[in-house]
């Protein structure tokens, strides 16, 4: 069934492709398209970071009965733009004792890792830059590059607090990476494919979260916890615990170099929410019910990217909620949670999911007329 989708951005990209290919040889058209993709990606990256920083400050303020930023623009809405300009015109201080090469290379790793993951997210119908057939695996692989940046930053700073922060961050990241990977693997068993666009397509009438009921809900909770821990936020922010470690691994960074770490941290929070949306909550797919054509048509009038960002925003909000509701863990509690609870639960959970799929006890298996594609 094809529904009319007047506001989809894929119409614009298709039109642009046609015009460019008509006006010039293939090579130049392709080159211009690549440059456009880069520019759009860069803009989206920066704008999302600004929105996230503003949202975080405002929501945090409401959690703590404050007003938050309210001076720059109406409701302080251009506060994060002002902050960005400020951080751009701050001096980048040259520190004598650091390992020069590694110190300057570290922000590259942070930004490139989050940008590569960012490019693989399906933002809407046809709005995905890199669509490998090993999508989930690719996302896990490139997002773990970021930890190299953190370790380099901590080690090259030649600063005890940075070193402790980086080591904690390394231990935390590699531990929770396992859980995140295994939770996503559980959903790969359910979908039968690793390609992100196909995973979204397979959730047309039933989100994976409901399709795999018990097992999928466990995987979802584990993924949210470990994703939260991977981004060094909330109760898991001990790598940069400000009361013990000044600022953790980015203590010695100043100006825009610090800004890059900040940017990557906020984008990683969004990326975790976006991957969870794609794999568990149906990605950009509008809510649809089989047979209800009018209802489905109305849902399709809302463009797919709005669906995607709405779902991701809910998850980002949950992440902020968790952050301001729990006290910081100790390092041994943090590692115990992962190695003694989440990892064994996850290993068992994979088997439960395989049994559910093989015995046809998933929702699509039980009610193929209602939920099947």
């Amino acid at each position: 069934m094809n529904y009319s989708q007047p506001l989809e951005l894929s119409h614009v990209t298709a039109w642009l492709d046609e015009v460019l290919r008509g006006a010039m040889p293939e090579f130049w058209a392709l080159l211009i398209e690549y440059v456009l993709i880069g520019v759009v990606l860069l803009t989206l990256y920066a704008v999302l970071a600004l929105i996230l920083i503003y949202a975080e400050r405002k929501i945090t303020a409401f959690f703590q009965s404050r007003l938050g930023p309210n001076r720059v623009g109406k409701w302080g809405i251009v506060q994060s733009v002002a902050d960005m300009v400020k951080i751009l015109i701050k001096e980048i201080i040259y520190v004598k004792k650091v390992d020069k090469v590694l110190f300057y290379v570290a922000p590259f790793f942070m930004i490139v890792a989050s940008m590569l993951t960012f490019g693989a997210i399906p933002f809407g119908q046809g709005l995905q830059v890199v669509d490998f057939n090993i999508g989930v695996f690719y996302v896990l692989a490139v997002s773990s590059l970021g930890i190299i940046g953190v370790l380099l930053a901590g080690w090259s700073s030649n600063n005890k607090y940075s070193m402790v922060g980086a080591m904690r961050s390394g231990a935390q990241f590699v531990s929770y990476e396992l859980s995140a990977g295994l939770a996503l693997m559980t959903m790969v068993v359910l979908s039968g494919t690793m390609q992100l666009s196909e995973i979204v397509e397979s959730q047309r009438y039933c989100w994976n979260l409901f399709n795999g009921h018990i097992s999928a809900v466990i995987a979802f909770v584990i993924y949210l916890i470990s994703g939260h821990a991977e981004t060094n936020r909330g109760p898991f922010d001990l790598p940069e615990a400000e009361s013990e470690l000044i600022a953790g691994y980015h203590t010695e960074y100043s100006g825009l170099q610090f800004g890059f770490f900040y940017l990557a941290e906020y984008l990683n929070m969004f990326i975790i929410a976006a991957i969870a949306t794609t794999v568990f909550l149906g990605g950009w797919m509008p809510i649809q019910v089989k047979g209800w054509d009018t209802f489905n048509q109305i849902m399709w009038y809302i463009p797919s990217y709005l669906w995607f960002f709405a779902k991701a925003a809910v998850l980002v909000f949950i992440s902020l909620w968790v952050r301001w509701s729990f006290p910081r863990l100790r390092i041994d509690q943090l590692l115990n949670l992962e190695w003694k609870y989440l990892l064994p639960i996850n290993l068992v959970n994979i088997f439960v999911m395989v049994l559910l799929v093989l015995s046809g006890l998933t929702l699509t298996g039980l009610f193929p007329n209602v939920f099947g594609n």
């Binding site: 398209e33 690549y34 993709i37 880069g38 990606l41 860069l42 751009l88 701050k90 001096e91 980048i92 201080i93 520190v95 004598k96 004792k97 922000p107 590259f108 930004i111 490139v112 940008m115 590569l116 960012f118 490019g119 830059v129 890199v130 669509d131 490998f132 695996f137 896990l140 030649n158 600063n159 005890k160 607090y161 940075s162 070193m163 390394g170 231990a171 590699v174 531990s175 990476e177 396992l178 990977g181 693997m185 790969v188 068993v189 690793m194 000044i246 203590t251 010695e252 100006g255 825009l256 800004g259 390092i331 590692l335 115990n336 190695w339 003694k340 990892l343 064994p344 994979i350 093989l358």
Partner: protein, 117 residues
Amino acid sequence: MDSSSLFLVVLLTGITLVVAGLGMAILISPRSFNLQKTESYECGLPTKGSSWMQFKVGYYLYAILYLMFDVEAIFLFPWSTVVRDLGLAGLFSIAFFIGVLALGLAYAWKKGVLKWM
């Protein structure tokens, strides 16, 4: 447009962001030289000695454990896409594989590797 050239485009976009940002910051930010400013900040007091020294071994033990399970994940991902077709035979053969690894985790647990000291 194949995926690998798009991957390169995204990679270059990331690098461009850092290079362009730093370039702009260096052009417009003020600069002044002061000997005090080149000292490490650390916690505000003058630093003592280098921090490139031996470090707590506990972190490395976790890294080794991680390596074990991460390699396992590489084997499990291809399996997870085809497990529907393999059926119960696939489940049992991978159960043996994971069982051996879980035994490894249990051994580490018993030996007290997972206990933070």
